[in-house]
Symmetry: D3
Subunit: 153 residues, 6 copies
């Protein structure tokens, strides 16, 4: 898309010290040598740039889940919301982290299926089974005897 | 929720042979001894019951991605869509398949973050960087030199 | 749901002449003897009550499309948006206008399928075929030679 | 839009026998002589291509509802979700099946109105009237005495 | 975007008297000398043009809230829905009415934050605190002792 | 709603020092003497609790926009997303900050109207007028001569 953002993007050369420090951390963290348009756009409001970057960096860091999985979740959310920029940039990011053709195909198959089932659950107003109501971590035996949709091995 | 569905749910005892066969496959595949409300609701229109169940079974089967990951994708999509039934049932399913507290916390952190960033990408109308436009599988070197948001290791 | 609305609903007995006139027209137009909660809620802001009621009355009146079809469209939109009140009230309205079990089953099958395909079209960023770009009514031959998804007879 | 899909689309000439069989059925069923981009994209993951095409073919076939109506439902869902590809392709498909200017104008009027009312129902948290809670097909007298929004004749 | 609308837009020169009267009121009300594409598109169905324009004019007029604030609400809603046309046109409108860079930055920060928190509230199925359930205007003391998220001064 | 969250909420008495410090700041900042359920839920994953609370506190603080306006934006976003918890809690918060009945009525009228117009803009695929494409802050004369929907004074 050649249409401009709604604000003037802040180029590195025009950025103040505070914004440059974030840009430097973005490039170092990602191992890239350019600042993606998302960050040049958010820099139009420096508190937003900082809150989003440091929040995203924390959320996407390796932890209980690995970064490739996290990028794939980002694709699932972005596609469900219909966000063009995020779908493209996180699909590229997941590929860079090793997502294969087969993994991508299965990821989107799940995304498509649940957008379908979500709409039908809302349309039919399906009552929630009592077994699904137990909160996670609420006691010594949090695993229900049966579940809803998970094919068990 | 005690509100009824918009249709009369089909109990096993009242189901015809075609519906019972699907119910039996659902219970056998999942290793449960009851039919969740979703399937009793979809059974009000048997072609829907069959298309959804056999489609879901195919999509959620182990493949390039494992079933726990697939259930977590289902949670991400269902939460983004605000679907009550699906969020609860697939959160329960992912727990049954071994999702830990820490994994669940990180999953939702990613889901929340990208709902935020998606909205801002749409609000600011961020132009897509050219580097994100290359289609997956389009040539011998599909990996871009730099990506958008993925923290590289 | 027994939870209250965010505003005090305006009962007929407490309504002023302006609101009562709308309530009377609602009941006469629909052939019912009570004021549904939606209208008692909108009456908390009389300009909203009037704009919505007279707008809805115009839009849902018989015209090129018949009222049953229009109620079914309302169900499709409301389910896609996940709106509880609207899904229930318009499902009831479509039933009252004669929607059969089979019609309802097929309606929701279409609603579910397109929520799936919409998400996948956004995920894969499918380019629009040139043939789908011709505006409706733009010339003597508005019908494309081929289309996208319509099974032709 | 000239932006590419996130995957390499599979052209007929490059497709294997399994994919070609689906392409042939798509063209024969629709009476067209080209494969729309949606299917060339889904073919990047053959199980997705097959599940979606045979599912869609079943759902959109003539039944209790006619195909033109079904395409119009597809437009309503796609517009509500803001899906570019689907909105354009199914608007074209509905036109090919005979949707008139007047029908299209009324369809979108309903779509717009319910996107408005859905948002307000969610904003005001309107409690569902008890009369709308009775499930469809739950007994010998499923038709409520009064409904919510349907103008009766 | 150079892609056409799905209908032929109605130019002033080609419009009938009824449509021209609306166009004249639009230009006079807004103090502009052209008809934006939205209205030329809605004019393809004159009842829609009239209902939307006179509805919008009423809703956006100065009242308890000032027009700049109302345009900013329009931006918040449009960004949340991912609507390209509306996001751009109402961002431009709010700027024309005096929205500053700082106001715009804060507006979008709030929009982003609540898209995040909304998704998490849906994901975790947070129960509503009883104190938030009291309807507005329901008695002499509608102000709760404590609230949810509002930083008090 | 009496349904539990998907996690065990963390009560003050059971919280560790880190979580208690956040809880104390929440109560002090808001001037309330209880911890709303949202925060007790987010505390199931302490990094989420901290990132959301300190992010929200920064975003909602008085700045170029006043807190009441910010809470009203939160209501607009939450209603558009159909988020029950957020709609109720931020409606209560805006009331506490002085939002009047008339302001609330007008707020929701705008929210409803733009959910309608957004859907129609997506349905008709309205091309963006060139005049709306100029980025904010891109030069000495950022104000277009004409805008789209803003009624000028």
């Amino acid at each position: 898309m050649s249409e401009p953002a709604t604000v003037k993007m802040v180029e590195y050369a025009d950025a103040g010290a505070e914004v440059r420090a974030v840009y430097d951390d973005i490039m170092a963290t990602k191992g890239i040598d350019f600042v993606p348009n998302a960050w040049k756009t958010f820099a139009s409001h420096p508190p937003t740039l900082k809150r989003l970057w440091y929040g995203l960096k924390e959320v996407m860091a390796p932890g209980a889940l690995d970064p490739k999985f996290k990028e794939m979740i980002a694709v699932a959310v972005s596609a469900t919301n219909g966000c063009d920029y995020c779908t493209r940039s996180h699909t590229a990011a997941a590929r860079k982290l090793g997502m294969t053709d087969a993994e991508y195909g299965e990821l989107l198959a799940v995304v498509g299926m649940f957008n379908q089932i979500n709409a039908l659950a809302e349309a039919y107003k399906i009552p929630v089974d009592a077994v699904f109501m137990k909160p996670f971590g609420a006691g010594p035996s949090p695993v229900p005897q049966g579940d809803g949709e998970a094919p068990s091995s």
